[in-house]
């Protein structure tokens, strides 16, 4: 992560505007990559010292530092195959402490004992330590535009690392973002936006109530590349930057590298049900992750929508309730009841069902053990519509 001092940012009153890299930065990025390549085989420290000087051609100071940090991360570090550096150090320094011979002789003796070329001894002595590692070019060359994208992501994430809370308005893929946020221990309240297809997420941590803490910054920053998979997003974060809390705005136009494609299924259970439905529900379209449904101010995210191929008005939503505390299920049922979703079937693990009945108010409950019986589910769907 970039240190605060290295984030290229313009501060205007209470707002911070991130200076992302653009195509105009490619010439000096090319120069930076060339500088790295010139130092292949030398230590990271030597390269850092060289980078403290000017590059050929003008390069904006903070952007350059950010790009260099990212490039350091993308490059490999060479490790010697012939000897383990800690072993080399132990033998050399013990030998030096016990021998009366001069230092050159001690080096030669050590090299002989370890069967390594004496001229490599000094080079390999500390080459496993982070600042002394020998730089090695990655197998796939890094192009300026790729470095630019990675740097922009690093800039945005380093900023969000200092976030105390984040609000995101988004369309598409809201479910994955909510899931990721909760997995990272964040409080995530989801509300409907004026646009029916949009969701508004408010993300922070429990302790954020008391201080503008950046304790949750890492979790918030990790969500950012996943937002790139949403159709649209507008992010507003409160970040502690340069001694003050400032507003940062990002949207889908931010030139950041996206995360890997989101996993299609939350669980193996869900994946298996999807496969079973594809095989057995031949008369139905099986739609994964349909639009969320509103329950009061909140949004709920059913797992499947089954729509009859010949009679499209026959639609059933299916939700897998994987979580199992009584409070959680109670709250979930209350919200589903609030959504008044008559065509919703909730599949509940029978071993963790906490005594729920097959009918819970207007809800239809289908208990399962280990996996959902697709025949039982289809029978319930046929009954329902």
């Amino acid at each position: 992560m970039l240190p605060e001092a290295d984030i290229p940012v313009r501060l205007v009153d209470d707002e911070a505007h991130l200076d992302f890299l653009g195509a105009q930065d490619d010439p000096w990025l090319r120069g930076l990559i060339a500088e790295f390549e010139r130092h292949e085989g030398r230590s990271r420290r030597q390269l850092s010292e060289a980078l403290a000087g000017p590059l050929p051609g003008p390069a904006p100071q903070w952007k350059r530092r950010a790009a260099a940090r990212v490039l350091f991360r993308l490059w490999y570090r060479e490790r010697p195959q012939a000897v383990s550096p800690p072993l080399l150090r132990e033998v050399l320094f013990r030998c030096a402490a016990q021998s009366k011979a001069d230092r050159i002789r001690v080096r030669e003796e050590t090299a002989f004992v370890l069967q390594i070329p004496p001229e490599q001894l000094s080079r390999w002595l500390f080459c496993d330590l982070p600042s002394e590692r020998l730089m090695q070019k990655p197998s796939q060359p890094i192009a300026p535009h790729s470095l630019r994208q990675h740097t922009n992501l690093a800039i945005a994430q380093a900023t969000l690392m200092r976030a105390t809370s984040v609000k995101v308005a988004l369309t598409g893929n809201a479910r994955a973002i909510v899931r990721l946020a909760r997995l990272r221990g964040l409080l995530c309240s989801v509300t409907t936006a004026p646009d029916a297809h949009a969701a508004s997420l408010s993300l922070s941590g429990p302790y954020a109530l008391f201080r503008h803490t950046i304790l949750y910054g890492k979790a918030l920053a990790e969500l950012l590349p996943h937002l790139a998979w949403c159709n649209n997003f507008e992010l507003q974060a409160e970040c502690r930057l340069h001694g003050r809390v400032r507003q940062v705005f990002l949207d889908q136009n931010a030139p950041i590298a996206p995360a890997k494609e989101p996993r299609p299924f939350d669980s193996k259970l869900e994946q298996r049900l999807a496969e079973d439905l594809q095989k057995h529900a031949l008369d139905w379209h099986v739609i994964r992750e349909p639009e969320p449904i509103a329950a009061g101010k909140h949004l709920l995210f059913p797992d499947f929508l089954l729509q009859h191929r010949l009679h499209p008005r026959r639609r059933v939503l299916v939700e897998l309730a994987g979580f199992w505390t009584p409070e959680y299920l109670g709250q979930k049922f209350a919200r589903l009841a609030e959504a008044n979703a008559a065509n919703l079937i909730v599949c509940v693990d029978a071993e963790r069902a906490c005594g729920v009945k097959a009918e819970h108010g207007s809800l239809h409950i289908l208990p399962y053990r280990r996996h959902v019986d697709v025949n039982a589910l289809m029978a319930r769907i046929e009954q329902l519509c």
């Binding site: 100071q61 000094s122 302790y207």
Partner: protein, 451 residues
């Protein structure tokens, strides 16, 4: 009514109608979950306050781990016993200030053995983490948990680095009844304070040799750990509990080429800094760096300052002096203190001495300290790893080539040499380049040490 621990905070459930939680200090309304919430630190004071208001609690956070058993008796010296008694007598909350090498850790072990409640020991570095685990193992037969340096295990007695505790306190906060904070002076400046704020532990013991001066930082530490309960200085202890030591300050001079270079760099830096101080009289050094970085002149000034530091870290005169001292003291166990890792590796390469830096892995570090103890290697060179807490029992010579962190660092460094043993007389050699900023710094840090 119930108080529930929620990731570093306390959530108030099932409130009686008569209670106004907003009137209790520290409790805030959390609109995100529609509940009242307080920081974990207030778990016990909040329960007391509610009891005082005749509110019956059916559930409240208590240490989740089983009490530790299997302590060996801990023998304390009289001043250590006095420190423990002072802490115990003050409600088992507060800070003990004792010089490096005087056995602060033993006071902590006595507290662990006496309270017999699950305890979390916080230490600043990975090196100290390993040392605490090893030392605890001599006094305590039960399992020892460890958070940090790639480990994540929980036990009734657990040791964690500050950084790891800060990250994991939402999970660890309700497991322990006692917090022991080694090198407690690192707190109070907001960096890791949240770790202490999120823990429910009512009993807290802070240890330090170098408390911050009275002011907001010390007040904040007081709120998080407790006030200073016991204080001893080097001068109080030197006779019986610390090894006596001699100090030699060797004045050195830059060679003409280095002198010219130093003067030029210093002039460049001072010009920019003086101009900055006129327009920003109350600004801090960080502000200067940030603002200066926006202009070419400013960047040149910062680069000049860095170059000055690099030059003073290991100029030719220091290289020669160090070689002479190492030759002269070749039969004594010597610690060499330098300003940064780069210099440590330079010294290591030139003199074939083992460097101990934060980059050296724990197994190798332990092995090298064992070799140092057995005499298989005679000298170690370090930038910061040996500054705090690391126990190097047999070292009796310290050569201070350069420092980067002022008086506190120096006190800790000298402390490495003062662990007592029969007939020991430590020697501290300082290499000070004349007509540079080093003269004033060296003077200041010695004044602080003997104060």
């Amino acid at each position: 009514m119930r108080l529930l621990f929620d990731r570093g905070t306390i959530v108030l459930h099932d409130l009686p109608n008569s209670l106004d939680p907003g009137a209790i200090p520290g409790v805030l309304w959390d609109p995100r979950v529609a509940a009242w919430r307080a920081p974990g630190r207030l778990a016990y004071p909040l329960a007391s306050e509610l009891r005082r208001r005749d509110v019956r609690l059916s559930d409240r956070p208590q240490p989740q781990l089983a009490p530790p058993t299997g302590f060996q008796p801990v023998a304390l010296r009289p001043y250590q016993q006095a420190a423990y008694d002072a802490w115990h007598g003050a409600g088992r909350r507060g800070i003990v200030v004792m010089p490096t090498g005087s056995g602060k850790t033993r006071v902590a072990f006595a507290a662990l053995a006496a309270t017999r409640t699950p305890a979390l020991c916080l230490v600043p570095t990975r090196a100290l983490l390993q040392q605490w685990v090893a030392e605890l193992g001599k006094f305590y037969r039960g399992p020892i948990g460890c958070f940090g340096d790639g480990e994540r295990s929980l036990a009734p007695i657990t040791v964690a680095t500050f950084a790891s505790a800060h990250r994991n306190m939402p999970l660890l906060g309700d497991r322990f009844g006692l917090l022991i904070v080694d090198e407690a002076h690192h707190f109070g400046n907001a960096r890791h304070d949240e770790a202490l704020d999120m823990a429910i532990a009512p009993l807290r013991l802070g240890l330090t040799a170098t408390p911050p001066p009275p002011g907001p930082v010390l007040s904040r530490i007081g709120a998080l750990i407790g006030p200073i309960r016991f204080e001893l200085k080097v001068s109080d202890l030197q006779e019986d509990a610390l090894a006596p030591f001699d100090r030699i300050t060797q004045p050195l001079w830059l060679d003409p080429e280095e002198r010219r270079s130093y003067d030029d760099l210093r002039t460049l830096y001072r010009g920019a800094f003086s101009a900055f101080r006129i327009t920003h009289p109350t600004a801090r050094w960080e502000d200067f760096v940030r603002i200066a970085a926006n202009t070419d002149d400013g960047r040149r000034a910062i680069a000049a300052w860095r170059a000055c530091q690099r030059l003073l870290a290991f100029p030719r005169c220091k290289q020669l002096a160090l070689a002479t001292w190492l030759h002269r003291l070749s039969d004594r166990k010597t610690l060499i203190f330098v300003a940064d890792n780069d210099t440590a590796y330079r010294v290591a390469r030139e003199h074939l001495l083992m460097p101990l830096t934060c980059e050296i892995g724990r197994n190798e570090r332990r092995l090298m300290l064992d070799h140092f103890q057995s005499g298989a290697i005679k000298a170690l060179v370090s930038a910061q790893v040996l500054n705090e807490g690391i126990d190097v029992p047999d070292a009796d010579v310290g050569i201070v080539v350069a420092g980067s962190r002022g008086e506190r660092e120096h006190t800790q460094r000298v402390g490495r040499l003062l662990r007592p043993s029969r007939g020991k007389r430590a020697l501290v050699v300082e290499l000070v380049v004349q007509q540079t900023t080093e003269v004033q710094s060296a003077d200041k840090r010695w004044r602080r040490l003997v104060a």
